[in-house]
Symmetry: C2
Subunit: 406 residues, 2 copies
């Protein structure tokens, strides 16, 4: 699904908060597209991060984890696209270290203040000459109002740049959160790298920042099907430099809740952009499961429905084929009573309890006409609930499945 407005304001992302600069250039890993990004905080920033749970972890993931613990404050994030530096053994580890060192050298900071990130092909070593040359060049391109170049340089199969920011007031001071992300152009990218970088001029202590980043990531990036399985390189890194001038945001305060809410907005926007950029996607689907025995069950059911190619093709074909939905929940592994199942699409009930169909098929199908679909599944057996976002399936796959009824 092409974004209708592809123009991202140059500052409407990681450079929106005060005291952040960014750059994105072509250094030569890819043929001609931008492939190196740098994010820089002009003052020391508190960092928080969430990493892939894949058993196979790329070298940059290992180094970021180490540096997150080793340094109290951080200053920069260097990212290359076109090569993931994963499954590259000792050499890969050394290469990621060198990326941090060279970036630190050029910025006159310490290596452990630099986070390193890579995305692209697995199993090939990085072209380090090209990258170290690129690093010495990119520092000269750092700009306070250019978010776009960095957001572009982290893309792989993405078809549009993903950036967002929000500004709000805390005790009379303007606080801003910005972020960029990359997903991938694939339907069910169980291996595609999901990268997100977040900047803010809020002041917050490391432990609180980690909690907040983890919580909001769980409600956003971890609730899109693109993120259902984790790659060797997935990471979310966030920097808070305090340049807004506010006091530290403490847990259990109104400021903390406000910051969480605004962070949620920014990360949700990026998450949804990743879903919209799913290969061949033409519809954004929000799935709400309600009334499960637990939130975990609701999550399981929602995820199974979101992953079901048959549900996704039916949605694409605007066929309100509720049987595919109930059957997907049936094999999700949760306990429920199929006869109590209810389905509401975009506010219109199409299935009530006891398999009662409330609308003729042709009317039910109309509920799927819009580009954004809200699918509510009521299990009516408890209070568990979960929301996640996914997209439809289109193309050849649909030629067979979408027309199965006719």
């Amino acid at each position: 699904m092409q974004q209708e407005e592809v123009e991202i304001e140059m500052k409407n992302g990681i450079t929106a908060p005060k005291g952040f600069k960014a750059a994105g250039i072509h250094c030569g890993i890819k043929k001609s597209k931008k492939d190196l990004a740098l994010i820089y905080s002009t003052s020391p920033a508190t960092a928080a991060a969430v990493f892939t749970l894949n058993k196979v972890q790329a070298a940059p993931v290992l180094i970021c984890k180490e540096y997150l613990l080793r340094a109290k404050k951080h200053r920069a994030i260097i990212v290359n696209s076109g090569n993931a530096n994963a499954c590259t053994g000792e050499q890969g580890y050394k290469d990621s270290l060198l990326m941090a060192e060279k970036t630190a050298e050029a910025l006159k900071i310490k290596p452990e203040e630099v986070f390193v990130s890579s995305t692209g092909v697995i199993g090939e070593t990085l072209p380090m000459n090209i990258i170290t040359n690129g690093i010495s060049k990119i520092v000269n391109f750092l700009e306070e109002d250019d978010n776009f170049s960095a957001a572009e340089a982290i893309m792989t199969t993405d078809t549009f740049v993903k950036a967002a920011s929000e500004s709000f007031d805390i005790n009379g001071k303007v606080v801003t959160i910005g972020g960029i992300a990359k997903g991938s152009g694939m339907i069910h990218p169980n291996m595609a790298t999901m990268l997100a970088f977040v900047t803010t001029d809020a002041a917050i202590e490391k432990e609180s920042f980690q909690t907040i980043i983890k919580d909001v990531t769980d409600k956003t990036f971890n609730k899109i099907v693109v993120d259902g399985d984790t790659s060797t390189n997935d990471m979310v890194i966030a920097l808070a430099n305090g340049e807004s001038g506010i006091d530290n945001i403490k847990p259990d305060t109104a400021e903390y809740d406000l910051f969480s809410e605004k962070l949620f907005n920014v990360l949700k926007k990026l998450s949804i952009d990743i879903v919209k950029d799913g290969e061949g996607a033409t519809k954004l689907v929000e799935i709400n499961v309600e009334g499960a025995l637990s939130d975990q069950d609701a999550e399981k059911a929602a995820r199974t429905v979101a992953l079901s190619p048959l549900v996704k093709t039916a949605i694409h074909g605007e066929d309100a084929n509720w049987g595919r939905i109930i059957a997907a929940v049936g094999y999700s592994g949760i306990d429920f009573d199929p006869a109590k199942f209810e389905i509401i699409i975009n506010g219109i009930p199409i299935l009530k309890q006891n398999y009662t169909v409330t609308l003729p098929i042709i009317e039910a199908n109309k509920t799927l006409k819009s580009k954004e679909i809200k699918l509510v599944l009521k299990l009516n057996c408890g209070n568990g609930e979960s929301t996640l976002w996914t997209c439809d399936f289109s193309e050849e796959y649909v030629k067979i499945n979408g027309s199965y009824r006719t």
Copy 2:
């Protein structure tokens, strides 16, 4: 993948064993294709069956389970395609009962001697007038040497008929096992019905037959990715009528092992046909995982690789992208040491331990040229192993992912 030889001998399936007749006709559920099948044993037969584990179970599944327990011997299987009679509540249950009754009436046997099976759209009640008319007609078409019509009548989105049989000698007597199956034309048909019907003129007691059918199903139909998730209607039903004249096959005998082996051959052939008929499939892929900590771990790893769209598109694009394979194992949830991972494609090692690439990419890619691919994944950390069959991904999906490297 179109079968190269579409011609199935008329008798080369469920009518190959002695004392079985079959028929397949168009009764009117579908517009013009055959949609009703009947399998009939001229003498009482011992039955065994395996059913879907889906929480949502279609009416025919419930009735077959009941009849399997209630009757000692069985005589017939009536199957309709075009409508799954699933999620149809009380009415659906009554309709399936009626299908058995009408079949029993026409064949002058008892209703509980008849198994009932349905496949097609979920959530719509059966057109019972059409079906009961069809049943009274189909009994007149029963033939001893027509397997093809029944095999055709159980198809939904299948593109070719799936049938197989094997004959072998037990104590100087010829024993035959025959089978037909339907899968679906979908890439990852987590809801498509998998039906298989097996006939044999062997003599075997009910308990032993159930054990053997369950064991062999686990090694065949449960080892294809098509069967990774179970539909509301999945079933395997087998009838053994003893017409070969052999003595009962007993457990722990050479005859038992021979029968198991031949049954495996028949069901493996049907399973592989289902995989080959995967939508857009151009390659059949056998995945062997060796050296896992347990067989369960090996199975998990193999299944995750088989389900990975990125691995499947790479195989389609003849891109020996081993990074995608190792990463899929990485998120499969099993414990292993990525540095010990080895990959062999069609007998040629492409990755040795410590991420050692043994061939230039262009040479490694050649291992994927053939239509049948054998992928051996060695984890080198235990003795667990598993084999399963899957297919590649083609089409639009591949246009993006298959050319990711270039």
